[in-house]
């Protein structure tokens, strides 16, 4: 598959009082055409920072892009200036945010918020833009699109607003959509609807999607590939089948074990991951998960493990996967 986005060795830090929080510490991944890639991880794992860095939305300072490349359709986004980025945002890369209540401008009619993007990027006339906007509203499942076009955001429910956000993000048919926790603020029944809309839109428009989420259930329902992040690093990547059916990294395994499942028998205890993630103002020298890992070995605290590759798509970074790990335990 031809990659549309390649992230190479990305490091992002934040300047805070008393030092530098190293939020992203060497990200590498690719997104193929028409593919849905999930980035999962807990808060502070660097998943949202990665997304916002791709869009170049974090102000600098306090953020500092220390090193790395973000190749979008072969061009390094980190070398673009503000003006060039503005031309890309909304046109080639769309983004939807977590909170549909605050991501729409409350003083502008919903329809106008869609046409604005179209007029700016695609130089459509007002009439063409309006037709296109109504078509988009219909596509994301908003009934009475013509009447809704002239309403203000406060007349929409949370789920409906998120649909509008999707319509805005996809109005210019971008080749990449970044969805940063798009369903976290919504109720489960609404979440299910939004996921369906996103899947349907992808099938129609062939957009690649980066889905940032902490909800493994959403991942299982929507994505092709999964990137598991922990403390600013990628600890495991694989197709959703590989990640859910054959997880290799202790963190991935721990996450899956710690979630209760509806189809689980009662009384089966949850196995939590002990402790809390490391403070990235002083990241650990070795594997960031070592302090919480029940498999931790002496070397884990000293050296950050490299990648062990299982298939073209499946990779994990853990010393326990090293051939010498078995010897060490038997001796």
């Amino acid at each position: 598959m031809e990659p549309i986005l390649q992230i190479k060795d990305l490091h992002v830090s934040f300047q805070v009082k008393g030092g530098e929080v190293k939020a992203v510490r060497g990200m590498n991944f690719e997104v193929g055409k028409g593919e849905t890639v999930a980035i999962v991880g807990e808060s502070g794992s660097g998943k949202s920072v990665t997304a916002q860095t791709i869009m170049r939305l974090i102000p600098s300072p306090p953020s500092l892009i220390k090193q790395g490349e973000i190749l979008f359709q072969g061009q390094d986004l980190l070398k673009k200036n503000n003006k060039q980025m503005e031309a890309i945002r909304g046109k080639d890369i769309g983004m939807i945010f977590q909170d549909p209540m605050t991501s729409l401008n409350p003083t502008i009619k919903v329809g106008k918020q869609i046409t604005e993007v179209l007029i700016k990027h695609q130089k459509l006339s007002a009439g063409e833009a309006k037709n296109r906007a109504i078509e988009m509203l219909k596509m994301v499942g908003i009934k009475n699109a013509e009447a809704r076009f002239n309403q203000y955001p406060h007349e929409f429910s949370g789920g409906m607003r998120q649909r509008v956000m999707i319509a805005i993000a996809l109005a210019c048919r971008p080749s990449l959509l970044i969805a940063d926790e798009p369903t976290t603020a919504l109720d489960v029944t609404i979440q299910a609807q939004i996921m369906d809309v996103m899947k349907e839109m992808q099938q129609r428009l062939g957009t690649s999607i980066i889905l940032i989420t902490h909800d493994l259930g959403v991942v299982a329902g929507m994505c092709d590939r999964v990137i598991v992040m922990y403390a600013g690093e990628v600890v495991e990547t694989g197709t959703k089948w590989e990640i859910f059916k054959n997880p290799q990294h202790p963190y991935t395994k721990g996450l899956l074990r710690s979630m209760p499942r509806l189809d689980q028998k009662k009384g089966e205890p949850l196995i939590p991951i002990i402790g809390t993630p490391p403070d990235l103002i002083k990241p650990p020298l070795g594997c960031p998960f070592a302090a919480r890992c029940d498999q931790a070995m002496k070397i884990c605290e000293r050296i950050d493990p490299g990648a062990t590759v299982f298939s073209d798509t499946h990779m994990a970074r853990c010393w326990d996967l090293h051939p010498m790990a078995k010897e060490g335990q038997s001796s």
Binding site: E42, G159, V188, S258, L270
Partner: protein
């Protein structure tokens, strides 16, 4: 089963939302919780589950109905007796960031209840009790002099739990205690709650929107929709055999972390007809949402399994 510790009967809490409209946040709910039991209360945002919890604790004065704790109607108690009663009933809050006073140290947060009820004799005794409580919830007692903003979400929620435990309560309302936490931390807190229940014989009302977690922790589950209970059953029974259409929708919407299950799943979708829980004075609209809840009542269809059914005739 042992005797009922909590009996809620016909509890109502209405809010005036202006213009003569009334928001019936909690609209005639009844249930009981046995000693040592965990009752789960699930529903989506705006269904009134948190209001129900707060009204049961009398943080809001109820519009109608009664709450009996060990047989005593707490809404009839004098302020002085109510204050004493608060030792038996505690609450754990949703937002670990908003529920701890940012100007207090951990010692003061946990020790406050001891001060209010005069349970800490000397300063040294107070300090000892706080350290004991911190240890009980798995926190390092050395951190007792720190401020809440220095802790992670999961640690703060443990502080909130320690605060609730300080007065040796019998009954704790857990108001979405894990929904603001990361997945890897949620299980820690849930296990802690279960462990404390076993050790201290606590009774819980566990309010949440995450059905899989509610099922895991609860003995029985009540499903709330627009201020009312639409279904109540033993948790295994509810998940195996949901009867109310709303329960079915809710269950089918939960994403399961298993691609195999997700690919073969059929969703039941509800159309939102815009009928909220607000009862308008103007057109007298019922505000029953999708179902005609105003003309329904809970019927026991099999032992311990209650479902809201439309009245006949």
């Amino acid at each position: 089963m042992s005797k009922n510790l909590i009996e809620v009967e016909g509890l109502k809490k209405y809010f005036n939302v202006g213009g003569g409209n009334v928001l019936k946040a909690v609209n005639d709910i009844s249930f009981s919780i046995a000693e040592g039991e965990t009752l789960g209360l699930v529903g989506e945002s705006g269904c009134g589950k948190s209001t129900a919890g707060r009204t049961i604790l009398r943080l809001y004065e109820p519009t109608g109905g009664s709450v009996r704790f060990n047989g005593t109607d707490i809404n009839q108690l004098s302020p002085r007796k109510m204050k004493a009663m608060r030792r038996d009933m505690q609450m754990i809050f949703q937002d670990p960031y908003a529920s701890l006073n940012p100007r207090f140290t951990v010692t003061d947060i946990i020790g406050e209840a001891l001060d209010i009820h005069g349970m800490a004799g000397s300063r040294a005794e107070r300090k000892k009790r706080v350290e004991e409580l911190l240890d009980m919830v798995g926190l390092n007692p050395d951190h007792a002099t720190r401020y809440p903003h220095e802790f992670s979400g999961g640690q703060r929620q443990r502080i909130g739990i320690a605060r609730a435990l300080a007065v040796n309560p019998k009954f704790i309302i857990c108001d979405e205690p894990i929904s603001a936490l990361d997945v890897s931390i949620q299980a820690q807190v849930v296990n802690l709650l279960k462990d404390l229940q076993d050790r201290l014989g606590l009774t819980y009302l566990f309010i949440a929107h995450d059905l899989s977690m509610v099922k895991h922790i609860s003995d029985r589950v009540a499903v709330m929709y627009l201020g009312r209970i639409v279904e109540l059953a033993e948790s295994e029974e509810l998940y195996a055999n949901p009867l109310h259409p709303y329960t079915k929708t809710l269950l089918s919407a939960i994403p399961i972390p298993d691609p195999e299950v997700e690919e073969n799943k059929k969703r039941i979708l509800l159309e939102d007809n815009g009928n909220g829980p607000i009862h308008s004075a103007k057109d007298g609209s019922a505000g029953g949402g999708l179902f005609d809840l105003d003309n329904s009542e809970l019927v026991e269809v099999s032992k311990g399994h209650w479902v809201s059914m439309p009245n006949k005739g």
